[in-house]
Symmetry: C2
Subunit: 160 residues, 2 copies
Amino acid sequence: MQRMDNINTPAIADLSPERLLCLDIQMCFALYSASLSMSKIYKPLLAELGLTYPQYLVMLALWAQNEQTVGELGERLFLDSGTLTPLLKRLEKLDYIQRVRSKQDERRVIVTLTERGDALRQQAVQVPVQIAAKTGCTLQELQSLNEQLTRLRSRLIANL
Amino acid sequence: MQRMDNINTPAIADLSPERLLCLDIQMCFALYSASLSMSKIYKPLLAELGLTYPQYLVMLALWAQNEQTVGELGERLFLDSGTLTPLLKRLEKLDYIQRVRSKQDERRVIVTLTERGDALRQQAVQVPVQIAAKTGCTLQELQSLNEQLTRLRSRLIANL
DNA sequence: CAAAATAAGATTGTGTACAATAATAAATTG
DNA sequence: CAATTTATTATTGTACACAATCTTATTTTG
């Protein structure tokens, strides 16, 4: 059943500017502050692995699929080379990854896990277990939030 | 009715590490990337006001209540002086705020809107209207996300 | 094939975030 | 009341984010 002319869901446009302003700001701020709080929760756990939160995301992407170009990593993580290049250089200095220019296309830089970077995966498995306890989320909440935020992100990116 | 022994909501602890890892990571990444996408949506609109997104949040806090100390702003926005001090200096250079040491307690710095900063409010009212269109959220989504994210943030901060 | 256009990363500059530390002021306490 | 402790903000250093620009390599096109 498609949505009918809906009495229970007033359109955004029908709200008073004040109410709209209030809700919109609240949601955006909730998003912003929840995201910062989340990275603070991760910080001490990731510090044991020598990683920051964005570095952890890159490692997750590489553990899921090794050998990706900078561009591919950027597409998956929604980050550009200005963010990734220095971050990847730090991961390289830690000997978690290797950066090698492609022979087929000298413009591309291929990022590969080192042995040490691959081994780190075993240690990293415990991270989300400890995080889950700290977030105090039910499975429903995790799933629901994940879906809503992913949908939101899609719409935002489509309108950039 | 309090939650009973619930067949429909398996506990986090009952999940396999793989599934937990997957969900947890997805949610955290969704949060992180949605937050970054949101600030990208705001950026061009706020640029017209000469503001960054965190600066906009500070202005919103001051429009809601003028004359706040650095500490009070930090408590509302979940930011510390290391972030706020340079940000406030930039807002001061823009002549949107004033920073004055309290006479009663020389440790405190009181932040006040300038005439220009107060006037900016009129221009800023249109921002959330334009944002709402771009987010493509229903009222339900805004409310639901706001509540969920605020609850999440509370739990995260309680566990820092 | 040479010139122009496009693509992929790197670099530069600005502005957060935040831990750690410092500097100063106020409050507490022996 | 002097010494210690605590509170408030500022400073320093590291690491993102990202716009704008640059460099180099590939692709397209006349």
